[in-house]
């Protein structure tokens, strides 16, 4: 995989998270009924950063959990490689809450579809909203994000790679060539 360009740098990610946090608070008219669910792997770290930012702005620590949607995927029969499954961690009640689902990249929409099914097994939220750092297009399902950090039009042969210091060496969003 060859890196073609860096699209957002460390400072850019910080600014984007600040804006997304403000948008979430504005749209929900406060944070009292909000919970965040980060999708493994990098969505989890993004959700944690959003939680911290929202606390800075509004003073409240909103419940934040982790969702692993592997068991709800639709490609078990067609994938060659078996996906690795890990543990979800949602320690609070999501019934009648406004759930903000957080992921790094929105692409086909199939992961978001799986996440919706997974959430419903935990309860019946009042609303589910989708927040992504990058929307790269090429949707295969009727799914749209409520909060988008940056729209990055891509070709099928490209991939958007989000790196986060929690598990990568740097913070940044990169465009990589996946055809080679």
């Amino acid at each position: 995989m060859k890196i073609k360009a860096q699209i957002i740098d460390e400072l850019g990610i910080q600014r984007t998270i600040t804006r997304l946090a403000h948008e979430i608070i504005e749209k929900n008219k406060g944070v009292d009924n909000l919970v965040l669910l980060g999708m493994r792997t990098r969505g989890e770290f993004l959700a944690n950063r959003l939680q911290k930012k929202i606390q800075e702005i509004d003073g409240k620590e909103i419940p934040t959990g982790v969702l692993d949607v592997t068991l709800y995927r639709d490609d078990f029969r067609t994938r060659i490689k078996q996906p690795e499954v890990s543990v979800s961690n949602i320690t609070f009640d999501i019934n009648d809450k406004d759930v903000v689902l957080v992921d790094d990249v929105l692409y086909t929409g199939r992961t978001a579809r799986a996440a919706l099914d997974a959430i419903m097994d935990y309860g019946r939220p009042k609303t589910v909203q989708l927040c992504v750092l990058v929307d790269r297009g090429h949707r295969e399902l009727p799914i749209k994000a409520d909060y988008v950090g940056k729209n990055i039009p891509t070709s099928i042969n490209e991939e958007v790679k989000v790196k986060m210091k929690e598990i990568d060496e740097v913070d940044g969003v990169f465009l990589v060539d996946s055809s080679t």
């Binding site: 592997t70 068991l71 709800y72 078990f76 996906p83 543990v87 935990y122």
Partner: protein
């Protein structure tokens, strides 16, 4: 990282990486079991056959729940009430059921090697749910999962299996897996219940239960299996209890930090006294809950393998 085999026949042949993968994956399913809706769609469209030629309550129920919570279609076969009693051979019975197209077969049989035999004439994935005196891999995996949930990695831990080792497939599967994971394994019981050459498996032998309690972190206490000719190995149950029965007094005198496991069903007042079976040292019912999670992990890992 998928499992290296498409079957789970026994732990003797299962690499340590696969054992770890199953134990790690089980954590995911343990969490699923805590949800309001304890069911995931992962094995939708797959059919699992529970082929039980031998009596079982716990294992069969546990497998059936695991299968249903993964959204698989489940068919059950038990020997009583089947054509086996009309004289149909094992192979004919199985071939007939396989012709109905099943993806995974969970098999229990009183003869060792039946799961292995099945792999020769079916494409289905085979899971051993106990074969004769050979192995009972899912029981050992859920035992180990339960130990690690309570006291952390079994590596370096001292674990003693108590009871009728010679007639026990649970003991064998536990010994194979625990040794691979780096535990110090020992056995304790009357010499008549020890298999010949047991020391070749690299386990220590205790003949004094008090010493076994004092020197180990965990006791996995087996059931005295009266239906499996255990009766001929000991003079009577009262004598067994006198020498090897575990009661609160023995624990309190020797080792209050001991962890007690039992695969069930318990013979109360024989291998375990009621004050131990219901007491603070045991995790017997955790084992049952974890059994569903561990079996879901195995079904998931085999069922989604390409």
């Amino acid at each position: 990282m998928p499992l290296s085999s498409k079957h789970l026949l026994g732990l003797y042949d299962t690499p340590v990486e696969d054992i770890r993968l199953i134990l790690d994956t089980a954590k995911t399913f343990r969490e699923v079991l805590e949800r309001p809706i304890k069911k995931v769609p992962t094995l939708q469209g797959q059919t699992v056959l529970n082929l039980f030629f031998e009596a079982s309550t716990r294992t069969k129920l546990s497998f059936e729940l695991a299968e249903k919570r993964l959204s698989a279609d489940v068919v059950n076969f038990s020997k009583s009430g089947s054509s086996v009693q009309k004289g149909e051979t094992f192979k004919d019975t199985v071939n007939n059921i396989i012709s109905m197209k099943v993806d995974i077969i969970v098999v229990r049989h009183e003869s060792a090697g039946v799961p292995q035999f099945l792999t020769r004439f079916t494409n289905a994935k085979i899971i051993n749910a106990g074969d004769g005196r050979h192995e009972h891999p899912t029981q050992a995996l859920l035992d180990i999962y339960s130990i690690e949930e309570k006291i952390g990695s079994v590596k370096g831990k001292k674990i003693c299996i108590v009871g009728d080792i010679a007639h026990s497939r649970v003991a064998l599967s536990n010994i194979f897996a625990l040794k691979k994971l780096g535990a110090e394994v020992s056995v304790c019981g009357p010499l008549t219940m020890m298999p010949v050459n047991i020391e070749e498996l690299g386990v220590k032998i205790y003949s004094d239960i008090n010493k076994a309690i004092a020197e180990n972190d965990v006791l996995n206490v087996l059931r005295i299996q009266l239906e499996r000719e255990a009766g001929s190995s000991i003079p009577d149950l009262r004598e067994y209890r006198e020498y090897f029965g575990i009661n609160a007094e023995r624990i309190e005198k020797n080792n209050k930090d001991i962890l007690i496991l039992h695969p069930g069903p318990i013979n109360r007042g024989v291998e375990l006294s009621s004050d131990v079976a219901d007491g603070p040292y045991q995790i017997i019912l955790n084992q049952v809950t974890n059994g569903v999670a561990v079996r879901m992990a195995i079904l998931y890992l085999l069922g989604t393998q390409n």
